[in-house]
Amino acid sequence: MAAKTLTIDGRQITAEEGETILQAATEAGIKIPTLCHLEGVYDVGACRLCLVEVKGTPKLLPACTLKVAEGMEVSTDTERLRKYRRMTLEMLFAERNHVCAVCVANGHCELQTLAYSQGMEHVRYEYTFPKWNVDNTHRLFGMDHNRCILCTRCVRVCWHIEGAGTKNVAGRGGKSQIITDLNQPWGCSESCTECGKCVMSCPTGALFQKGSTVGESERDRNKLEFIVNAREKKQWNA
């Protein structure tokens, strides 16, 4: 593997060829906000929070899928990017019904954490207050579409770590939703192995263990990474 030298936020760093900007930045201790990214599964570049500026490129590019290149000059924290990130977060809050006060993930929610760390103290866009259902048909888990941000982490862990392929996305635009099997109630799913990885991967309170109440939904994300490392790199000791 050839090493590449590049600049991130004015700092010269080296990275291995094939690494993403996000990986290189993380190794260098530079934190880029992410939401759809999850260690252990492939990236889709959907949430647009990790967008960075690359010198010489007019377009903003997602750090999670952008590969390092020699001499690249990357900015991850410009005023423009901060503004766009805040707008993205505000749009997410306005899009569905995120009521932190009564959410299982309160205090452990990545959306909530991102919102305050990006300085979002209120939402300037009109809340749309859509009507979404809660699927409580599963024996162990529940899915509250009101809190879903469509990051598709659950879909990816279900297909690519568990290999069950239970979760998927249906519909278009703002009407998209996560479904189980061919849009059956979760409890009727024959493909679901009840492994709970989707619940573990969810950044918000959309997927939850039944019986947990406000603020109780803590997740152990390292488990997903552990499984992937164990399988692909044959490393079982963290």
């Binding site: 009521v99 006060a101 909530q112 919102a115 209120h122 009109e126 809340y127 207050f129």
Partner: protein, 182 residues
């Protein structure tokens, strides 16, 4: 030094923010000589006064009374603060918005008839019981709001930090976990 005229108002909310305000404990004593509480659910004042400097508003805009009072507050106050999640995001009171516009009848039906153990009747008294708005709104969708103090409720130290900055003559600016919803 003239004391800062402070008001606190309780719109559509649970009063939790005011409870948290009372949790300021000895800080309230510390600032007692710097502020004058001119209107508050915890003070016996009937009319919202003129010339208020800062007003902390708890709760969302849920009914016609809320709406009228908020416009009055805006007209008679220099600085408005959305105090707590209901004021900032409309929060729990706004969960009825999901049932669509024109939900007020069904919401009242559910609350006062279906779930009533005694005397099921929807309260109606013109001039006394305010009519519900079609949609519950956060304050800033109705009037201009200068500052936001989120939290459900905002913890006392957050209120303290905010008021401390105001009293120190700074432009109040909360950051990081002090902006956490919920």
């Amino acid at each position: 030094m003239e004391r800062l005229k402070i008001a606190t108002v309780w719109l559509g909310g649970c009063a939790g923010c005011h409870m948290s305000f009372l949790d300021l404990d000895e800080f309230l004593v510390d600032i007692a000589d710097k502020i004058q509480v001119v209107y508050s659910p915890i003070a016996d004042v009937k009319e919202y006064p003129e010339g208020v400097d800062v007003c902390l508003i708890e709760g969302a805009v849920c009914n016609e009374d809320n709406l009228e009072l908020l416009h009055q507050i805006r007209a008679q106050t220099k600085v408005l603060v959305s105090f707590g999640d209901c004021a900032v995001t409309a929060n729990v009171p706004a969960m009825r918005n999901q049932f669509g516009l024109g939900n007020t009848e069904s919401v009242l039906q559910r609350a006062y008839i279906e779930n009533a153990q005694y005397n099921p009747v929807i309260p109606k008294a013109d001039g006394i019981v305010p009519k519900l708005l079609d949609r519950v709104l956060p304050l800033h969708e109705v009037v201009t709001v200068e500052y936001f103090l989120p939290g459900c409720p905002p913890p006392a130290d957050r209120i303290k930090a905010f008021l401390g900055q105001v009293l120190a003559g700074q432009v109040p600016k909360l950051a990081g976990t002090q902006l956490k919803f919920g």
